[in-house]
Point group: D2
Chain length 142, copies 4
Amino acid sequence: MITASEVRVRYAETDQMGVAYHANYLVWCEVGRTDFIRALGMTYAELEKQGVMLAVADAQLRYHASARYDELVRIETRLLDVRSRGVTFGYEVMRVDAPGATTGSRLATASTMLVSMTTAGRPVSMPAEFRALLDAARTRPD
Amino acid sequence: MITASEVRVRYAETDQMGVAYHANYLVWCEVGRTDFIRALGMTYAELEKQGVMLAVADAQLRYHASARYDELVRIETRLLDVRSRGVTFGYEVMRVDAPGATTGSRLATASTMLVSMTTAGRPVSMPAEFRALLDAARTRPD
Amino acid sequence: MITASEVRVRYAETDQMGVAYHANYLVWCEVGRTDFIRALGMTYAELEKQGVMLAVADAQLRYHASARYDELVRIETRLLDVRSRGVTFGYEVMRVDAPGATTGSRLATASTMLVSMTTAGRPVSMPAEFRALLDAARTRPD
Amino acid sequence: MITASEVRVRYAETDQMGVAYHANYLVWCEVGRTDFIRALGMTYAELEKQGVMLAVADAQLRYHASARYDELVRIETRLLDVRSRGVTFGYEVMRVDAPGATTGSRLATASTMLVSMTTAGRPVSMPAEFRALLDAARTRPD
């Protein structure tokens, strides 16, 4: 399963180089991840209501090209790995010419590894229902 | 009582106009407010531990000049009004040439009115101890 | 003319009160303003390419209720005033239950006054074409 | 050469987990990098005035523990690699109990690879003067 999210680059997200500041890509990945979990049939907000948080433990980003103000950016999100206490997402970030367009130039490639924690910060297994949704998503064709 | 806080403009805070993005001034005011409360002899973090939050209900900003990357910015914070369920802070934001310098050009003038709320979001009187510190600060010479 | 823009509250935009941090409303207003200018038939990016920037000179925000993570927020943008060297926008920010829904609870009311400047920071009259689009929008029914 | 920078966690930087949002660590690394370059005897702002920008091409972050509102965070910055068209910085981010304290718990480890570009976005060798400062820093004892 791959989900696609779209954001338009905000003026607030640019820096004086005239392009989107690099830390915003982590925010866009989070937008992609939120949409991916929603597409699973659950929301991350529900997960937190059950007392489980997914905290980013590792992030890797490779920047290929720059995004500019008002450009439309698509984030494609997929699962890279699922474990009992964590999950790793992969992201392709690209510029697109119009909403829903299927082609565009690649801006960045990223991955984030998240660990499952209680609200008190203790590592904990992901809830069974959520784990099952993740496992089902791994085998679902794109 | 007036407190002075200093921040250096981060690259992340600039936008493609080459100046600090206007919303960051609200963040700098929050830095000033945090330091003001600390100077009272209490921290805002302690206030929250007591179950009381100060939520911004009104904000007014007037921008006079721009701040640029790596410039040193001073925020002078003072009390404008204290009520049982809220407090209003005033801010002068200026560019300074060196840490601790007493002169500089004015960047912005702002005020924020904060209301006292429980963690559940209900309006509530500010804790007596905090209120007393605010009242004492009003009469303290600068 | 009134334009409507929608954003979903990002996790990055929340703070430890569990709600959207107040400075983000200025960013959402900027999203609304960008869409308003696009609806005029011009983009703000084009305006900057002509060497004219609109810098925020004054901002006023009144917060009524909080927005939470993953909630859908609509920004309704309209013109409040147009002058030769500046323009004032008004914003109604509200929570909506679904994309395109016409009802929802009010989160904030805001206005920003922008001044027209050259890229060197000198005040300048807004380009005639842009001014004409603004004037036409003032008389267009909503 | 290792430089140390200190930031205090801003309320704006927290998220609803009650900790500093993970993307802010990239901003703190940028603060560390700015201070490192200043310690070399040049500022990044001067480099940009010469028409050369350092754009982040790769970022890697490993998060060990969380930072909370109002905590003092130190970023230790060092050089990992210097090439003709780029430079890689390494960062240790830690919580400290007081300004200038030499001990504290480790929050994150990160690195960013930056490439030298003209303002038009073309890859270019770093200016000789800047390169010489970087080379000298590599052999300077910490």
